[in-house]
């Protein structure tokens, strides 16, 4: 079939019923501010890694809340921990510390 250009695309729908929230809850216990993000985008706009890699604290948090952990983790690998995002976040989230905590919690898990 692929010769004719037909194929079944995987669904891009986010199914909130299937999200496993355990790790995100663990993260919030350690970093209560993780759920305070209001998606303003200041962090991504200032991030020096963002231009080249698409790194965005906003997107990482969104992905984690939706169970898209692999995506989040892949983005984070280009973070240089420079802390610029921390300077600009209007919600006062310690984003640099948050990134370290995410690595700690999610990095350990084999499954992601």
């Amino acid at each position: 079939m692929s010769m004719f250009g037909f194929r079944i695309s995987p669904s891009s729908t986010i199914d909130l019923d299937k999200v496993d929230r355990n790790r995100f809850k663990k993260l919030c216990a350690l970093e209560p501010d993780a759920s305070k993000c209001m998606a303003c985008g200041s962090c991504s706009a200032t991030c020096s890694a963002s231009e080249f890699s698409g790194m965005s604290v906003r997107k990482v948090l969104l992905c984690l809340q939706q169970g898209r952990e692999k995506e989040a983790y892949a983005m984070m690998s280009s973070c240089m921990l420079c802390g610029k995002c921390l300077m600009v976040c209007p919600r006062g989230i310690n984003t640099r510390h948050l990134i370290l905590s995410i690595s700690r919690i999610y990095g350990k898990e084999e499954s992601i």
Partner: protein, 339 residues
């Protein structure tokens, strides 16, 4: 000095105005269509931003305006303009002559059944913000099953910011009401996942943003940027909600035990009907039109006719009360200047 002022509508605006007019030595007459005073606020449970019981506010207002002449179950049959005053005929056969009429006819809640895609009146698990407030007060609503409350959704902007629903205005109070109600539900059902589907969060008032932060940080309420497009029911009697998560740029679905529609504040046909008797102008949003929306909000273009509260547009309780006082001052000044 004593002057009769006819107040149409016994909601909080009407009661506050009556109380202030009494304090200034005038004789307010309150005409209320329904069987109770307090208007919509009499149906609410706790008020943002301080979670003060709505009943306390209504009780205070009712007791401090009790010396006014109050007619319940009464409507305006017709109004004639005499030389410098109005002749107001009531549905109970009484007629009143007065130089001053104050409209405090309030708003009407958008009829959520008009947004068919949300399934109000079709699916049993779909209720409105008003139904939820009533349930907080009475614990009675067959659609709310205490034992099965694992996932709840709130739909913002139902019948507001919607040209198809013929209401382009933002109803202003429903974002904060949704957040307030989401927190209250989370406190009752700590294990439930709660979702708010919003287009913008419009949290303009004192301490409103604090509610938002509390909902996010302390209650773990999920905020999803996207308007619910469609609601359907599954075989287990739960509702499936579809929306786009516009931050992720992806479609999203979730199964819920309860869906709360944040019906907006729209113009009250009871208000426009009476305004029509005096050819008062209607603003482009359907609410009564003030002389000036910046500096003369409580003044109508006709002599002796004033407005206060949600009859000129969506308002919070403190804004409504402030307008009632401001309208009374306009009336009082006008009375004094005649002498």
């Amino acid at each position: 000095m004593n002057e009769i002022v006819v107040i149409i509508g016994g909601g909080i605006a009407g009661l506050e105005a009556a109380r202030q007019l009494l304090a200034l030595g005038h004789s307010p007459i309150v005409i209320e269509k329904s069987d109770h005073l307090g208007g919509h606020v009499a149906d609410w449970h706790k008020l943002f931003p301080d979670m003060k019981p709505a009943k306390d506010i209504v009780d205070e207002l009712v007791s401090s305006s009790k010396d006014a002449n109050i007619f319940l179950h009464t409507e305006i049959s017709f109004i004639n303009r005499l030389k410098d005053r109005y002749n107001i005929m009531l549905s109970n056969g009484i007629s009143i002559t007065s130089r001053y009429i104050l409209f405090t006819t309030g708003f009407r809640l958008f009829d959520a059944a008009k947004k068919e895609e949300y399934g109000y009146g079709v699916y049993n698990q779909v209720i409105t913000n008003q139904d939820l407030e009533k349930w907080f007060n009475t614990s009675k609503d067959s659609r709310i099953d205490n034992s099965a409350m694992k996932a709840v959704g709130f739909v913002h902007c139902v019948g507001s910011r919607d040209e198809k629903a013929r209401n382009t205005q933002c109803s202003k109070v429903c974002c904060i009401t949704a957040i307030k109600q989401a927190i209250e539900l989370k406190e009752k059902f700590p294990d439930a996942e709660i979702y708010c589907f919003y287009m913008d969060l419009r949290l303009f008032g004192k301490k409103f943003e604090d509610f938002y932060i509390k909902a996010q940080r302390d209650c773990g309420i999920h905020f999803i940027r996207g308007r619910v497009s469609e609601v359907s029911e599954n075989i287990d009697g739960k509702v499936i909600v579809k929306a786009e998560d516009t931050l992720a740029g992806r479609p999203m679905k979730v199964t819920l035990d309860l869906l709360v529609l944040m019906s907006g504040m729209v113009c009250n046909p009871d208000s426009t009907r009476v305004a029509g008797m005096m050819s008062l102008p209607i603003d482009s949003d359907g609410f009564l039109r003030s002389t000036d929306n910046v500096s003369r909000n409580t003044v109508s273009p006709k002599n002796g006719i004033f407005y206060a509260g949600a009859c000129t547009g969506p308002k919070t309780v403190p804004e409504t009360l402030a307008e009632a006082r401001s309208a009374v001052l306009e009336i009082h000044n006008s009375i004094i200047s005649r002498r």
